[in-house]
Symmetry: C2
Subunit: 218 residues, 2 copies
DNA sequence: TAGATTGTTAATCGATTAACAATC
DNA sequence: TAGATTGTTAATCGATTAACAATC
C-alpha cells in the first residue's frame, strides 16, 4: 500500500469482495488474475478494479499477466487491518447469538469472539466450548480482556437496555442485530445488521427485474 | 411518493434506517419529527434528510412542526415495497439457518420464510413450527410456492453446490451467509452477508478512532 | 408578527468512466 | 515484435453541501 494517499470509502467498501474472490481463485490454484476477469465476476468495471487495487497493493500488476493473487491477498488483508487482533463478545445467547458464538469464521479476520452474555440464568453455561456468562459480569470481563466490540443479538424489546449496559462496560462499537434504532452517546459506533432489511432489498432488486422485464415484453 | 422522478441509490439505501428510526419514535407516542432531529440521531445532515424524504413522501413536511411520522412510515414502506409479499426459503438448517428460520421479524417486511432445506437427513423435520425438507425437494417446493429468494446458510465447503441447486430450482436471488464468492449465471442476484466482514469493518472504525486519538494526544 | 422549519437552486465535492500512453 | 494488460490524466456523472426564499 502506498502511504500518504488516502483511500476513498467506496474503494474500501469493495475490498472485502475482492478478498473473498481472490481467496476463492487462490484455492483453485490460480496464480494471476486480470482486472477484466475480476470485474466480470464481481460485476464491476475493469478500470475501477485497477484503480482500487493500485491504491492498496504494494506492487503493480504485470502487463500481459495481471495481478499476482497471493500478493494481493496479503496487501488487502494488511490494508483492512486483519492482522491487528480484536476481542469481541456476544450479548444475547438466543438462537442467533449461539449460532454466531459457534461460528468459526471470525478468526480469519483478526477477531476473537471470546464469550457470550445473557440476562437469563437458564442460558448461562457454554456453547461450542465458549462460555456464556450472566449479564452482570459484562463490565468486569470487558475490562479484563479489553473488549472493543459487542455483537448484540437480544430480542427487540431488550435491545436498548442491553445497549446501555454495553456502553457502560466501556465497549465502543456495537454490531446490532435487533431491528431497533439504538440511542447511544456520540463516539459509540453502531452498525445495523438487519437481516430482514437485507432480504427485503434483495427482493426489491428482483421486483425491479420483473418490472423491467414486463416493460421489455411489451 | 412523487412519480416520474427517480430516486438515487444512495437515498434508497438510507430508507431502512429512517424507517427503523421513525418506528422507534412512533412507539414512544411522538407524532412529528424535524429533519434536524432525524439528522442528529442518525448522523446525517438535515438538508440531506429533507431531500431524501421529499423524494419518497406523499405530502410535504410542515414548517414549524416537521414531518408527520405516521405518514412517513407509510410512504417509506410503500416505497420499499414492503407491501408486495415474497416467499423465501432457507438452504442449510445448521445453527444459523435454524436461528433465522425461528426469527419472526421478516413478516414486517413482506417476506414469508416458508421452509428450510438440508442435505443431511438428521436435520429434516421442523423448527419453530416450520418444516425442514431434504435438499432433493427444493426444486419442487420452489416451483409450487413460487419462491423468489433463498437464504444460504450452509458451511463454506457446501456453498457453491447449494448455490447451483438454488439456481437450478429457478430461484433468482440469494442472500449468502457463507464466506465464499459464488459463481452463478448472469441475472441471478447474490448479496453477501458476511458477518465477519461487518464485524471487521466495525473494528476498523474503532481502530481509526484510536489512531486519530493518538495523533490528537501528541 | 416572529421564528422555526421546510423545499429548491446553485456550487462543491467525490467517484466513476473514457481515452490513451506505458510496459512486459 | 505484437498484443494483452496495466496505470494515469481528463471528462463525466452523481451526490452532498451551502445559501436562501417560502411557509405555517
Amino acid at each position: 500500500m502506498k502511504n500518504g494517499e488516502t483511500v476513498s470509502k467506496a474503494t474500501t467498501s469493495r475490498m472485502p469482495a475482492y478478498l473473498r474472490y481472490l481467496k476463492g481463485e487462490a484455492g483453485k490454484g490460480i496464480e494471476y488474475v486480470s482486472s477484466a476477469a475480476i470485474a466480470k465476476d464481481l460485476g464491476l468495471s475493469a478500470v475501477g478494479v485497477r484503480k482500487d487495487l493500485a491504491l492498496v497493493s504494494s506492487r503493480p500488476g504485470k502487463p500481459r499477466f495481471g495481478f499476482e493473487i497471493r500478493l494481493l491477498i496479503e496487501d488487502i488483508e494488511k490494508f483492512l487491518g486483519y492482522h491487528r487482533w480484536t476481542n469481541a463478545v456476544i450479548v444475547g445467547a438466543g438462537g442467533l447469538g449461539r449460532a454466531i458464538l459457534a461460528y468459526e469464521g471470525f478468526e480469519n479476520y483478526g477477531i476473537h469472539v471470546i464469550a457470550a452474555f445473557d440476562a437469563s440464568p437458564a442460558k448461562v453455561g457454554a456453547v461450542g466450548g465458549k462460555p456464556v456468562y450472566p449479564m452482570e459480569q459484562l463490565g468486569e470481563i470487558a475490562r479484563r480482556f479489553s473488549i472493543r466490540v459487542a455483537i448484540l443479538t437480544v430480542p427487540r424489546s431488550a435491545a436498548q437496555q442491553a445497549c446501555d449496559a454495553i456502553v457502560k462496560a466501556g465497549i465502543g462499537a456495537i454490531l446490532n442485530f435487533a431491528p431497533v434504532h439504538l440511542h447511544a452517546p456520540d463516539g459509540v459506533h453502531i452498525r445495523y445488521e438487519d437481516l430482514a432489511v437485507s432480504l427485503a432489498a434483495l427482493c426489491g432488486e428482483c421486483a425491479e427485474d420483473q418490472i423491467m422485464g414486463d416493460q421489455k415484453r411489451r
